[in-house]
Amino acid sequence: MKPRLDVEICGVSFKNPVIAASGTFGFGREYAEYVDLNMLGGIAVKGLTLLPKKGNPPPRIAETPSGILNSVGLQNPGIDYFIEHELPELLKYDTRIIVNINGNTIDEYCRMAEKLRDVPVHFLELNISCPNVKQGGVAFGTHPDVVYDITRSVKAHAKQPVLVKLTPNVTDIKEIAIAVEKAGGDGISLINTVLGMAIDAKKRRPVLANIVGGLSGPAIKPIALRMVWEVAQVVSIPIIGIGGITTGEDVVEFLLAGATAVGVGTANLISPTACIDIVNQLEEYMVQNGIGDVNELIGGLRV
């Protein structure tokens, strides 16, 4: 018998728990050539800002042991362009759409949430890893109070359920997650990239023009799993586990740790069919291990 792969987040059902993570899957279009987007649990689109954004100078990517660093710098055409030109294309597919939004101020987040009120997308995802211009460039996501404020404010403007995507570059991820839940956030995505740096010993220069960048890929999986596990112990809103997932077994690990669904990022850069391959591997794991419903795995770690 075919195992059940569907999960539910905030009343929205997903065909399967595999979501293409923001920034690694464009607006889906480029990948449609390689995979049937209808087979994805969901797609988190490239991070959007209120106005179009150029992004950082190249090089923007470096390879590190079992990981990559990126410093795209949120290059995107702006939320209006997205709604007008990219979304219609995406809406042709039967999958869940998560709109990743990024602001310099709380007000910018709220204005984007307003713009999306009457737009048929399923979730907002607040990326709060970006530097907070008002607070001197410190990332929003590093202070529980700021996280509380931003979540609460956006909730007041948003129609769709709001996921808050957390940065792992904090001392205590639990207090941040608790702030999201207290403020009425509907779910938590974690983790975003870990701040890192690569140096070219021969040229004696940083590899990235931006000097530092965000580390992702299998290298960070242990960090991501630990954070998902920690957060699952202290909140009851759903978690989307992200970080280094490249196989179906990786998905199982995140579900066991307490995630309801997962985001696949860097793996899309390695193979355009990664998300679908991972769904198939997950199904295979379930068949082999006699698991009829993927929900049995969620939080099922035996400790």
Binding site: G23, T24, F25, G26, E30, Y31, E33, Y34, K46, K54, G55, P57, P58, P59, R60, I61, A62, E63, P65, S66, G67, I68, N70, V72, Q75, A209, G217, P218, T266, N268, L269, I270, S271, P272
Partner: protein, 256 residues
């Protein structure tokens, strides 16, 4: 191994062999070592549509190309392609200069083949470090009307930079178009000459890549916008070939 640093590899892929345009590339997964995540972009050197054979020529510069160079016949390799926007060859073209430096010469072979098929008069200007670095010369000679070789040390052809010879040639005769591929310093001179002599010019750029298919926005190069500013385009999808007047090479920091 075709020179002390360059390797040629051939593999079977009907899809690539049938569909490749000159200037397009393949994106190769380095086999075996799972600590190396990213694919390596390598230009398509030549294709044989009848047999499905695809050829690439590459230089060993780091871990990935070193592993590739140690592969044996019969091994399976994971390749995406053909990717990117290659050279655009319009029917009006009668004469072309093809300018290549170092391992930037790789994508020019298939280009010359197509130009020849279309009856274009081709002058190939090829720069190498030295005699030992030269490869494919006989084939280039067959595929073009004239081949001018330079080496940095004068051990073959003219001593000096390929761009010096290019300037001399431009003083003699202006082609309908130029095609260039090579290290950034070379491309900068070609770009300047194209402007000075008002010859349209396409050049193939390199940048570090992630997905290779336009999804991740890491492979950017700065391209002029009509308003006098610039925007970042994707080398993998909008390129790797761009018109020389639109690219801003000061922003591109990686050479081959």
């Amino acid at each position: 191994m075709i020179t002390s640093h360059m390797y040629k590899m051939a593999f079977l892929s009907e899809g690539i062999a049938l569909n490749a345009n000159p200037g397009q590339f393949v994106h190769i997964k380095v086999p075996g070592d799972n600590s190396l995540l990213l694919r390596r972009p390598i230009s398509i050197y030549d294709v044989h549509p009848q047999t499905g054979m695809v050829e690439i020529v590459y230089q060993v510069v780091g871990k990935g190309t070193r592993i590739l160079s140690g592969m044996n016949a019969g091994q399976v390799i994971d390749v995406l392609g053909p990717l990117g926007k290659g050279f655009t060859i319009s029917r009006e073209i009668k004469s072309a200069f093809v300018v290549g430096g170092g391992c930037g010469i790789a994508p020019l072979k298939l280009l010359m083949r197509r130009l020849k098929e279309m009856g274009v008069v081709v002058t190939a200007l090829l720069g190498f470090r030295s005699r030992e670095a030269v490869y494919g010369l006989e084939e280039f000679e067959m595929l073009s009307d004239r081949v001018l070789v330079t080496t940095d040390d004068g051990s073959l052809g003219r001593k000096g930079l390929v761009t010096q010879v290019l300037e001399e040639e431009l003083q003699q005769l202006l082609p309908d178009i130029m095609f260039a591929c090579g290290p950034t310093p070379m491309l900068k001179v070609v770009q300047r000459l194209a402007k000075e002599y008002s010859v349209p010019c396409q050049m193939s750029l390199e940048e570090r890549m992630g997905c290779g298919i336009g999804g991740c926005l890491v492979c950017s190069c700065a391209v002029r916008t009509p308003d006098g500013g610039f925007e970042y385009k994707r080398v993998c999808k909008d390129g790797p070939v761009f018109w020389s007047q639109e690219v801003m090479l000061d922003e591109a920091t990686i050479g081959c």
